[in-house]
Structure formats: structure tokens, C-alpha cells
Point group: none
Chain length 187, copies 4
DNA sequence: GCATAAGCGAGACGGTACGTCAGGTCTTACG
DNA sequence: CGTAAGACCTGACGTACCGTCTCGCTTATGC
């Protein structure tokens, strides 16, 4: 028995955990990150404030836990045997994720918060779901799967969306073509 | 007469304005954006709270006014007659600005805040100093100075720094070469 | 020459003085003493704030100046040759003044303010218009015109109104009769 | 069960309540009513501002709660079998209460505030401790215990103290004698 | 008749209290 | 011992008024 005393007392309520994660997701879309409060999350979830603080330190941690799984799923596009088509469709998913998805909103928000909050920075660094998925797409198309290659894929759509431009106007096809050419040279 | 009543009452104190802008700059570096408060700025500046609210609505507005001028200066690199060298040195300045400069920190912070604050988004949109300077560098090297060309220049270093990687590791030269090639084709 | 340089410069504006006094009177009735502010008085009077501060230090001083003249007039009842009738009609005027008149409201307010503001206490002490008029009524009816005789006349209606009871219910006649009897004995 | 949910959550802190009431009492004497602030009371009591606002809306309510009990005690003089002596000693207690006692200062202050604050007026009307105690003294001496009889007892010393005269100079004995005579006639 | 001087309305200045809100901690009773 | 409830202290919020200080202007006197 490695966890002799682990089961002493009332077990954690899965119901409370889910309620908190959903409340955080909902409130992020409704009121935005700045107006998102631990108090508000607890009240929306119908949960005591202490229960929230017991399991998460900050609203960023809640958002992170709430969005990582969704993010992974939304970014996993089916592989296309033609590299150009594969990369293009992935870039499209990236733009959609960043601009439209609740999990994408959480990602942008967390990266933003990380700029002035070391704890969030560490959280993000521990699991950068965007870089990870991009590297796997590069790898499966025989391209270099380095961090800087990933940054060259993610960067343009990321800046595009972060600076508030319409996702539809982003030149996905052109970028895919150029990246494929450039990264093939590099490798 | 455009400003008939402009000189009624005590005129605005330039001294107070400067004190507020500098206080905001200093405090951003010292305590970060989240802990930056209107109250704190006013106290650091030795200024009444009302005086801050009289001229700026939010801490974002103060930071914006405080950083725009600095940003423009730091991003204006002397032109190199060789396009590759010119673009490379500009990319270097971009990385340095984003990663090291107080004005760059303010820029990252504001773009972050814009993700959940429409007022900040509008502010940024009214004067995106990064896109502007990039477009002018592209133009002077005979490259297409569109918004999406700019996004392809800014995006990679922007994501690199935003996700907390070391500025020194960013592949400035490679990116400059590839961009020059790709954008020449597009044009 | 007592006032050699007294007439140098622009003379005081009587118009501004009147506007301030009336504004104070009006605002006292409209918003009450607590919500009466120097700023509000100045704005209502259409006068600069400095002009108010130049001539009065506190809102109490303004009210005092605004009400003393009115008070004296309202409390000067025509003499009745029959002492009981004279005293009765004066008591009636007293009740009406305290309960209904704007100047009476100002008097109650100032006496209230005097309880915790020594400056107001001194102001009132310098000219207690209620005690003065009462003493003169006592004197003209051959009664002792001491301060404590005055207090015995003023006290009951004063407490009655101060504690918020309806003026009509105050037993003017009974009090006048008893006072006349008691004070005659004392003298 | 009238208070089914009364015991849910952390119970109110009696310690905080007492600290606030004492702080209000102390500060009233130290700085006066005008300079008495909710913020100051909270700080002096070592209590959060929200805790004060949670239980009391205004400084007047705090003073009222702080003084009523004291007032009742200070005004309950032991009965003297001789009516004149009983009334005289009660009048003495009244003067002392109004002029010297902290609770008396609170009473004067509240009656003052009631002149321009309907909420305070209602508060006072709900429990006029001065009128109540006076009526009971009148009753136990076989005199009419009406509101206007009470006003004739309280009025003179009340006006005396309110207008700032020395308590020692108030003619307690004369007033007691005259009142006894007059009210006996009325009854 | 022009300088000097003081009063004028306007409005910005550095402060401070307002009443509210969220933070994070604590203390209950219940399950 | 986890939970919901809710009171606790702390401290920032944005507003109002404080009393003071410039401004440009007006309106007197007096050299």
C-alpha cells in the first residue's frame, strides 16, 4: 500500500471539479479574463470558495486545466498524404482554434497572462499544446520538428489573430507553400 | 477659431503628465501589469488619483501613451543598402525590442490585454506601431508591404518571445533569408 | 484715514454675494446640511469656488449670514398689551419659525453643527437670535429677562420640534400661562 | 423554527461588534461627529471596512447602538419618596447626561443629525430614550406622563446645553419647583 | 490714460473619504 | 475530512468634495 492514508475522509467531489471547470470556461467567454474572478467562478459553479482554492491557486490554473484537453482535440487534424495539403489544413485548424474556439481563447489569454505572471509562464512552458501539435505535424511530413520551425508555423497566424484581424483574411495557402519550401531547404 | 474656450481655467500640468507616464513605465517593470494599479501609479507619480482619471481611463491607456514614442524610436534601424542585411538587422531590433525593452514589454502587455478588453483592442488597432514599422522596412526593400507580409515577419519572433524562449536563440538570419525569398516570389 | 488702500482694485460683487446666500438657502432645503457643499453652493450660484472661499470659510458661516436677518424679522411679533396674549403669540411665532421657516431650519442646523464644531459654536454664541428676541419679549412684559428665563421659554418648543413632533400639537397656550405664573413668582 | 438557516456559515464576531462600538464612542469624543468617518472607525477598531458596512449603514446607526444602553443607565436615578426631590435629582441627572456623558454627546449629535437626515430621524423616533425616561419619572410622581409634559421637563436643560451654556449654571431647583406646580395643576 | 491691484469664473492640482467589490483566510454545521 | 455558507481583514476600485493654485478677464483707483 503506497497510499495508506490517502482515502481517509470525504473523497474529492468530481461533481464540484467539473462544475468549476465549466463555470470558468463559460465565464471566460461571457465576461473576459480580467473580469473573471475566483469568487465568480465559485458562485457560478455553486461551490464554496474554499473548495476552489483547495484545488487551484489561480484562475489561470483553472483555465489551463479546463482547456488543455479541448485544445489537443481541436488541433489534431487527420493526416493528409500530400504534405502541402496536410500543412495547409493544419494551418486552417490553427487559425480556427485561435480565433473561434473557447479553448483557443483560453490559450491566448494564458499566454497573455504569462507575460507578467511567472507562475503562468511556467504552467504554459510545462505543456505548450500549440508547439507540441505543430511539431508532430512537421515531423509526419518529413520536415524539421524544431522549436524554431514550429515558431515559424505558429507565429504568423498567432500574431494575426492576437492583433485582432479577421481569421478569414489570413493567407493560409501562401504561408503553407512558402513554409514547405523554406523548411525543406533548411532540413 | 477651433479652440475658443481652450484657455479657460488652469492649464494642464505637463509635469504631472510626465510623472504619470514615467511612473507607469517604472511600475510595469517592477511589479508587472496585473499588480499595476491606477492608485499605485498616482502615488508613485506624486499626483492625485483624480488627476490620473481626468486624462486616462485605464492603465492600458497610460501604458500606450507612455510606450508609443519609445517604440517608434527603438524600431527605426538605419537602412542598409543590402536588403538581406537590412531585413536581418530589423529582425534583430524586433527581437530585442520585444524581449528587452520596457516599451516592448508594454507592447506585449497591451496586446495581451486587448484579448479580453475591446477598448484596448481599439487602442492598439488605432496605432499598431509594430506593423507600421515593419511595413515601412518591407517597402524600402522593394517587398510587398501588406498586412499579411508584415504578419509573416513579426509573427515568428513575436510568438518566440511571447512563449518565453530566450531571444538569443531566435534564428534571425534564417528567417530573414527565407522571408526575402518568399516575399520576392509573392510580389 | 482708516481705510487708505481699502478701495484699490475691483470692488466686491454684491451680485455674487447674494447669489451665494440664496444658493445656500435653497440647497439647505433641497439636499440638507450634510449634502450641502461649498462646491455645490458655488456651482448653484454660478460663481467661482475661490469667490466663495474668499468671503466665507465654511458652509456654516454662509448659512449664518443668510439666515440671521430673516430670523430677526420672523420672530418680531407685534406687541399685545395683554402679557398672556403677547407671550402666547410669541410662542406661536417661535414654533412656526423653528418648524416651518427656512431660517428656522438654518438655525436648527447651525445649533446642531455647533455641537461638534467649536467655530460654529462661537458663531452662534456671538449672536443668538432666538435668546435675544425672547429676552426682549420677556422684558416688555415685565418678566425677568435672564438667560435661564429665556431657556425656559425656548426649551420646550425647541425640543418638541427638534425631536420631530408636529408643530400643531405643541401646547402653546398652556405653556404661556404656566410660564407667566412661574416667572412672575421668580421676579 | 423561525431561524432555520441562521446558523449557516461563520457566525458574527462579537469581538468585532464591540470593537466598532467602542471605536465609534472614542472617536466621537476625540474628533467630533463631522470628522467621524466609517473608515476611521474601522481602522481604530482594527476591523475591515466591509465588516462595518455589513452591520451598519451609517455612522449615526453605530452611535445609536453604542449609546442607547449607556443612556438608559445614566438616566435611571433612584426614586426619592419626595416628588420635588425626585424631580430635582432627575433634572440634575439630565443636565449631567447631556453635558458630560459620552452617551449624552451621542444623543445631542444624533438629534442634530436627525434635522437633515430622515433615516436618523426615524432611528431616534423609534427609541427616544430621553422622553421615555422622563415620562416614567413623571408617572412615578403622580404627574401627567404625556409627551408635552416630558417636553416641558427636557426642553429647558436641553436648549441650555445645546446652546453651549455651562451646566452648573442651570437652575435645576427652580425649574423642578415650577414644573411640579404647573403639572399638578394640569393633571 | 495707462499702470496697478483686486475680484471674477473656470478648472486643474494633490489629497482623503466615500461605498463597493474581490482577494484569500477563517470558522461554523452538515454529510 | 470535504463540503457550502458566509464572516473576517485587506486593499483597489472610480467618484465626490476638500481647499489651493493658476489662468485670462474685468473693473475699479490713482499716478
Amino acid at each position: 500500500m503506497t497510499e495508506l492514508n490517502a482515502r481517509v475522509g470525504r473523497p474529492r467531489s468530481e461533481q464540484a471539479r467539473d462544475a468549476v471547470l465549466h463555470a470558468a470556461d463559460d465565464l471566460l467567454l461571457e465576461v473576459g479574463y480580467a473580469a473573471l474572478t475566483m469568487k465568480g467562478i465559485a458562485e457560478r459553479a455553486g461551490v464554496g470558495r474554499q473548495t476552489v482554492y483547495r484545488w487551484w491557486s489561480t484562475k489561470a490554473e483553472i483555465l489551463f486545466e479546463a482547456s488543455v484537453a479541448d485544445a489537443e482535440e481541436e488541433l489534431s487534424v487527420p493526416r493528409d498524404p500530400v504534405p502541402l495539403a496536410d500543412l495547409t489544413s493544419y494551418l486552417g485548424a490553427l487559425v480556427t482554434f485561435l480565433a473561434q474556439s473557447p479553448a483557443g481563447a483560453a490559450y491566448r489569454t494564458l499566454l497573455a497572462a504569462a507575460q507578467h505572471d511567472p507562475a503562468v509562464k511556467e504552467l504554459i512552458a510545462s505543456r505548450d499544446v500549440l508547439t507540441d501539435s505543430t511539431r508532430s505535424v512537421l515531423a509526419r511530413n518529413g520536415l524539421p520538428a524544431s522549436d524554431d520551425a514550429a515558431a515559424r508555423v505558429i507565429g504568423p497566424p498567432f500574431f494575426w489573430i492576437m492583433s485582432g484581424r479577421p481569421p478569414a483574411d489570413f493567407p493560409t495557402a501562401t504561408l503553407a507553400r512558402d513554409l514547405l519550401h523554406a523548411l525543406t531547404m533548411d532540413g
